[in-house]
């Protein structure tokens, strides 16, 4: 029986990039060791998402080398790590821009025009959802409900939030991000305490749509 290598490799699975050799920095190693201690000793696998966040933070995205390192840390196979990586949406297996613009597209945001925001961002950057701009600064992604539907349309930028972004504000918003980084984001509305004026048992006041806070 002949095992034709071509047929043998006919899997449609896209192999993540190998990448350069990877190991946690000493700080990340310390963080990982502290995190894994939260779980019973025989349940190190519970720390896998945390380890992947560390690796992604260190390198920007996850490569096969990084996944193997995580497998080593956890004590599982690299296949198990890849299984997890490929399931969760917050892990990237390809390089992304410095700022990942995650525009919510689900109902509450869509009802108030999130699509127009995505279009305006795409036009301003010359890219479509799923793409990164040529300078490698911005990646545009459409995501599902972010859980802040009262302040739609919401855009998650890396780990920060920008709320009530209108298409007209888009170029100003991108400029502010370029100039001031994540400090330019409005943040979650509830943290901007002076705006959180309750109206009738409301936990959430109504405020100005703002770029970069006020």
């Amino acid at each position: 029986m002949e095992y034709a290598p071509a047929a043998f490799h006919a899997s449609t699975r896209a192999l993540p990039e190998e990448g350069s050799p990877f190991a946690f920095t000493p700080e990340n190693q310390a963080k990982f060791d502290a995190n894994v201690a939260r779980y019973p000793p025989e349940q190190r696998k519970s720390a896998i998402l945390y380890a992947l966040y560390l690796a992604q933070g260190q390198q920007g995205y996850l490569t096969r080398a990084a996944m193997r390192h995580v497998a080593l840390q956890i004590g599982c196979t690299a296949a198990e790590v890849e299984d997890v990586v490929s399931y969760y949406t917050m892990f990237f297996t390809k390089p992304v821009g410095r700022y990942v613009l995650n525009v919510c597209r689900t109902l509450s945001c869509a009802l108030v025009g999130a699509e127009r925001v995505t279009e305006a961002l795409g036009d301003a950057l010359g890219i479509k959802p799923g793409e990164t701009d040529p300078t490698g600064t911005f990646t545009l992604i459409e995501v599902e409900c972010l859980g802040a539907c009262d302040r739609a349309p919401v855009v998650m930028v890396n780990d920060g939030w920008q709320e009530r972004l209108s298409p007209e504000q888009v170029s100003q918003f991108l400029e502010a991000l370029r100039a001031r980084g994540e400090a330019a984001l409005s943040g979650c509305h509830l943290r901007r305490e002076k705006q959180a004026v309750g109206s009738r048992q409301s936990a959430v006041g109504s405020g100005q749509p703002a770029v970069g806070g006020d």
């Binding site: 945390y50 009802l111 025009g113 802040a148 305490e193 109206s199 409301s202 100005q208």
Partner: protein
């Protein structure tokens, strides 16, 4: 009688999330102090008597759930707090964790004591990183003040609370999928039984409770079961958070009793419709539940009343839509969500949600054929009741409910080969409710 908020008291005040504020202004940790003088079983009985129902979606009685947690075993027990909050239209746990985190921490400690657990994991969705940072900082403070850790308040009871960050998966909100994810696997549900109460996290007895559910626990212990039941209609006691979004003037999280009608929530609390346009339909409990129509708005927003009206209170995420919303588009938008979030474990859900989305996209684009309507119905009915978890039924719901109530819109799309609502049917630019 004006309703006094108890879960969201002071949330708009600066520093209301801090331990000092919690202790000095909200009688913080008095519930825990009292609980530790009671027997665990007495707490379970009290929660049962209060009739507290789970706020995560299913409305299952919390006391009963705790009673089912297997006590007679040498294995450790666990509490998992479900802070995955991913149901479209829901954002209440967000507010609680961000502005009143100690209420949740106290609730976790009391729940652990009641079920005999020593460890609670708060599984928070990965996107809530800013909330997680607040929560973790406040947990540190609770440890330092002796409300968590070893020998809490001199009672001999030990309890650890950890935050576990998810990484973007709606399905991680399903309780057994949450447990799988916490164990470091894909967030895919397990076959039930065994239920988590018998074999959950690490095959140990586990209670999974929503954030808002646990936040009610300190209040019940402190004020008593009778106080709690008196706040709402029969079997629907206690305070409730309602998340109102969509075409209303003041979207937000509102605390009210479940006596409050849907109309009062929309008109009085959320300020009524933007531009005073007519209301077309609402989703009363997050995207997974059937629509209600304008003539049903006098229904009290309780689990039982909303169910009697033909829908579900679910996670109490009210999405309000005016007359400009196309119902085919609505179903298409939500099926895009479900198709993306299906965990892929069962074929009817994985394939069916994709088929439904494609059919809807075709109809919405004006390329639908008459037979597509039967096909939509057929595919939906091949999902409902045939899947491992409730996600499957939820995914078919937007199609079935819009087909039932607005079939004429589907037919018009097919007949005229286009979306039939006025040109402004889809927001051409964001509508900023309440922005001045």
């Amino acid at each position: 009688m004006a309703y006094e908020p108890v879960l969201t008291t002071f949330v708009t005040e600066p520093n209301s999330h801090t331990l000092d504020f919690y202790v000095s202004r909200r009688r913080g940790y008095e519930g825990l102090r009292k609980a530790l003088t009671l027997k665990p079983n007495d707490i379970i009985e009290q929660v049962k008597a209060s009739g507290l129902r789970g706020r995560g979606g299913a409305g299952f009685p919390t006391g009963l759930k705790w009673q089912f947690v297997l006590k007679d075993t040498p294995k450790p027990k666990y509490l998992c707090c479900n802070a995955d909050e991913s149901e479209p239209g829901t954002f209440k746990d967000h507010v609680l964790m961000e502005r009143n985190p100690h209420l949740l921490i106290e609730g976790c400690a009391i729940a652990c004591y009641a079920i005999g657990a020593k460890v609670a994991y708060i599984y928070i969705r990965g996107e809530f990183y800013h909330v997680q940072q607040i929560l973790e900082a406040e947990i540190e403070k609770a440890y330092a003040a002796g409300y968590l850790g070893r020998n809490i308040l001199g009672s001999g009871f030990d309890c650890d609370v950890y935050v576990h960050r998810g990484a973007g998966a709606y399905e991680a909100g399903e309780e057994t999928a949450l447990i799988e994810s916490l164990e470091g696997k894909r967030a895919q549900p397990r076959i039930k039984p065994p239920f988590p109460a018998v074999s959950g996290l690490y095959q140990c007895p586990t209670a999974v409770n929503n954030v808002e559910t646990l936040c009610n626990v300190p209040l019940i212990v402190l004020h008593g079961a009778d106080w709690f039941t008196a706040l709402g209609p029969e079997k629907n006691g206690g305070p409730k958070l309602f998340c109102i979004s969509g075409h209303v003037k003041r979207p937000g999280v509102y605390e009210a009793s479940m006596h409050t009608t849907l109309r009062e929530l929309i008109d009085d609390h959320a300020g009524g419709m933007i531009d005073d346009r007519p209301l077309k339909a609402i989703i009363p409990g997050g995207s997974s539940v059937p629509l209600l129509l304008p003539d049903q708005l006098d229904t009290p927003a309780s689990f039982d009343h909303v169910q009697k009206a033909g829908s579900l209170l679910g996670s109490a995420g009210l999405i309000v839509m005016n007359d400009t919303v196309c119902m085919v588009w609505l179903a298409m938008n939500l099926l895009h969500f479900y198709r993306h979030e299906s965990c892929g474990k069962c074929t009817p859900c994985r394939e069916g949600s994709d088929w439904l989305y494609r059919l809807l996209a075709r109809i919405e684009a004006g390329e639908g054929q008459p037979k597509d309507l039967d096909l939509l119905f057929g595919v939906s009915n091949n999902i409902v009741g045939k899947t491992l978890c409730a996600f499957g039924d939820a995914a078919a719901t937007p199609v079935l409910t819009t087909m039932k109530l607005f079939r004429h819109e589907y037919e018009a799309h097919v007949r005229e080969g286009r979306c039939t609502l006025p040109a402004g049917w889809r927001a051409s630019r964001p509508v900023f409710a309440g922005a001045h």
